[in-house]
Symmetry: C2
Subunit: 257 residues, 2 copies
């Protein structure tokens, strides 16, 4: 695959195919070995990493564009994405930097090409099952991998800000919506669930309070099995009561008004 | 003011001035006489009403565009708007209908003018003080008035859907963030606060539970004064403890994790 040709052929039809001035960017969270991860792409010849993102076909719904872009860029399929914020600061589109990035690939692009305009981007985020995800880069990228939340590489444009806003949204959401389905395996222990919360919130929680509150939500089922193999007393296994879990997603935890 | 000239002069410069394909729309809630109100505009020669909305200058931040548009269309100043959703279904821009609307004003517009393209719109909402608001229409509109939430007129395009999504966001928010400042007068009674919640949620709440929960949030101050003039025992007056109120806005009610 010839990268320069890819880019030039993209630019030659982009104006006709895509909506002007608008893009989508996706913050994909996964949970693995007690660490929160984020999926990032590295474009060929780029110094920095980026969130998986792309453009919207002229007759395409924005939500569907986000799902398609994610599928194309990462190989991830059937992901439930949620839009969380529009990033509309004109300064986010640094055209001089965008021109430099283009010039690494080719000098033969038009001076007013599709990529050299101000873009407003719609941010989406998703929580995915680390193990069923099988990320792979598309022809424009050289890598697509999970990064630890606390050790992200340099990101292009305002992608660091977009990531932080997504994480802030997630931290807000965790106070009034259940979380964990899609992030944890089907059966999990209370300490594993607690670790997920601690990782997202980036702080230690009291073990007993956590357990009491979680059980109080009524979204967990305690299984008859226990986790085997540890040195301590084998802990109970839990799974989500999915009917109640989804009800709580709809109506919020803690009863609401 | 000549409406046809206004429109034609707008169209002649719109492409140069504004970002393509993107607009903002504002859902402005107020509270008056125990009813929730929404501010709507009627454009001249239009059959339907619309949310106050408009376009984004090529070098303008989207948040600032929303504030400016609201000021221009309604006379409302210094309103804190919050973006809540992007409406990106291509079907929302019905170009045949848009053409009909234009033809009511003039036959002399270009067939590919600025208004005849697909628009994605960013929805903003705000809660404002009914009494300090002094809405007035701009030169394109013939009316700008408050409508009762339960008796809205026909709205153009997908504005009914945008309104409903804003209301849903507000109902969700009321479960984990305080509400009432800016909607109620400085001093209010517990029944008045309860009525606000009931109106937003569109259901009756138990008086004792409401009072216990509200006081439990720690965001209210009970004043020494009471409301005079009623037939019953004069009820206590309350005001918000604004420091705690804003803290709860930041961190969510009910403590969080």
């Amino acid at each position: 695959m010839n990268k320069q040709q890819d880019l030039l052929s993209f630019l030659s039809t982009a104006d006709k195919q895509f909506m002007p001035a608008l893009s989508v960017d996706c913050v994909i969270f996964g949970f693995h070995e007690n660490e929160m991860k984020v999926l990032l792409l590295k474009m060929k010849k780029a110094d920095e990493w980026s969130l998986p993102g792309g453009f919207i076909y002229k007759n395409e719904d924005i939500e569907r564009a986000a799902v398609r872009v994610l599928k194309e860029r990462t190989g991830l399929d059937d992901i439930f994405l949620k839009q969380f914020h529009v990033f509309g600061d004109p300064a986010r589109s640094n055209l001089a930097q965008a021109r430099k990035r283009l010039e690494k690939h080719s000098k033969n692009f038009a001076r007013d090409n599709f990529l050299l305009q101000r873009f407003v981007t719609v941010g989406f985020y998703a929580l995915v099952d680390f193990f069923s995800a099988n990320p792979m880069p598309d022809s424009l990228s050289e890598a697509c991998i999970w990064w630890d939340l606390h050790h992200l590489p340099d990101l292009i444009m305002d992608h660091r800000h977009i990531f932080e806003k997504a994480l802030e949204t997630l931290r807000h959401q965790i106070n009034h919506q259940p979380i964990g389905y899609n992030l944890l395996p089907e059966k999990f222990t209370m300490p594993e669930l607690q670790k997920l919360y601690e990782t997202i919130l980036d702080k230690k929680l009291d073990r007993r309070n956590f357990q009491r509150r979680m059980l109080g939500y009524g979204i967990l089922r305690r299984l008859k099995e226990r986790r085997r193999g540890g040195a301590h007393k084998a802990p109970f296994l839990y799974s989500f009561n999915l009917r109640r879990y989804h009800l709580a997603l709809e109506e919020g935890l803690q009863g609401g008004w």
